[in-house]
Assembly symmetry: C2
Homo-oligomer: 164 residues x 2
DNA sequence: GACAATTGTTGTCGTCAACAACAATCTTCC
DNA sequence: GGAAGATTGTTGTTGACGACAACAATTGTC
């Protein structure tokens, strides 16, 4: 194997084979530490995992929660309107609604104004379920607060308000 | 329960059929606005899209960039070490490295200390390529700065430093 | 009334996280 | 020294998700 001595100032010389045991926490991230995307990605993974876990007992995932919340606050919306507002593909929303409708949380009602579209509503069961989901989601949000701090969380929300 | 969410339009009234045309920007997000996860998710999608676009000419995606950067800064690491450090499944890293090795950016060298593991190194071609990737990634980072503001970006990095 | 646009739907493709199982190889412990 | 257990890389599957393309039904426009 060509050793190909690397000259570009690495922090740890290792000729070609492995050198020694390296603890995970002494591995440098180099340029990654300056990239917002990397930090945001890791944070987002953490946050989703906590959300999924916290709402595990009711088996609701973040996307499902967002769809239910928007329908609950805006009854009668079309699928297209929900998809646009939440940045979800309308093709994907079809499956999401199939699942939620099967669980009797949502119903699609044929619109009489535009017979192409469906008016989306929560069922009575969906309303009470959503109330519980919101309580659990609030609990999840407290976990976030504990993780990054109350002030930081609020600042985060403010910084990213433009993306909602 | 919290049925009346948006105050902006008092009568949403949609008994069962559809009501009226609703503009996308007047749909209330209700509880979602208070969830950091929602904002973070939307932001992360935006940031990845810009990254993929900005590094489109070299066909490098965020995860590939992170792997190359870490290997470049820590030559000789095992796949397990890289996977742990970046929070990637080791099963997934296999395919990532297959691709990068096929493109002659990375090579796997059999470790002599532990014959189970591979020592990961950039090729000479990989080193020069990574330098270019870093320039493009820096350009992407400037896009982020333009989007949310210089001070906000730095504050974001600081808030989320614990997740890197 | 003809033609373009929209809505919901179905389907495919590729990325990604999460598991499970396996062979080869270390490590530990008796 | 050797059996038992853990680790490393690999292969495979599953499911959520974003992106696209095509289609029928319906609406809007000219």
């Amino acid at each position: 194997m060509t050793a190909s001595a690397t000259q570009t100032s690495p922090r740890k010389r290792a000729g070609n084979g492995a050198a020694r045991r390296i603890d995970a926490d002494e591995i440098g991230l180099d340029a990654l530490v300056g990239h917002a995307g990397y930090a945001v990605r890791r944070f987002q993974i953490w946050i989703f995992q906590d959300f999924i876990k916290t709402l595990g007992e009711v088996d609701i995932r973040p996307t499902q929660y967002s769809v239910l919340t928007v329908i609950g606050a805006n009854p009668g919306l079309s699928q297209m309107a929900v998809a646009k507002r939440l940045g979800i593909e309308r093709a994907r929303l079809v499956h999401l609604l199939d699942s939620l409708e099967q669980r009797k949380l949502v119903k699609r009602i044929k619109s009489k104004l535009d017979r192409r579209s469906h008016a989306l509503h929560l069922t009575a069961q969906g309303e009470t379920a959503l109330a519980k989901f919101k309580r659990l989601a609030a609990e999840h949000e407290r976990h976030v607060e504990e993780k990054i701090g109350k002030a930081n969380r609020e600042q985060l929300l403010q910084i990213l308000a433009g993306f909602t």
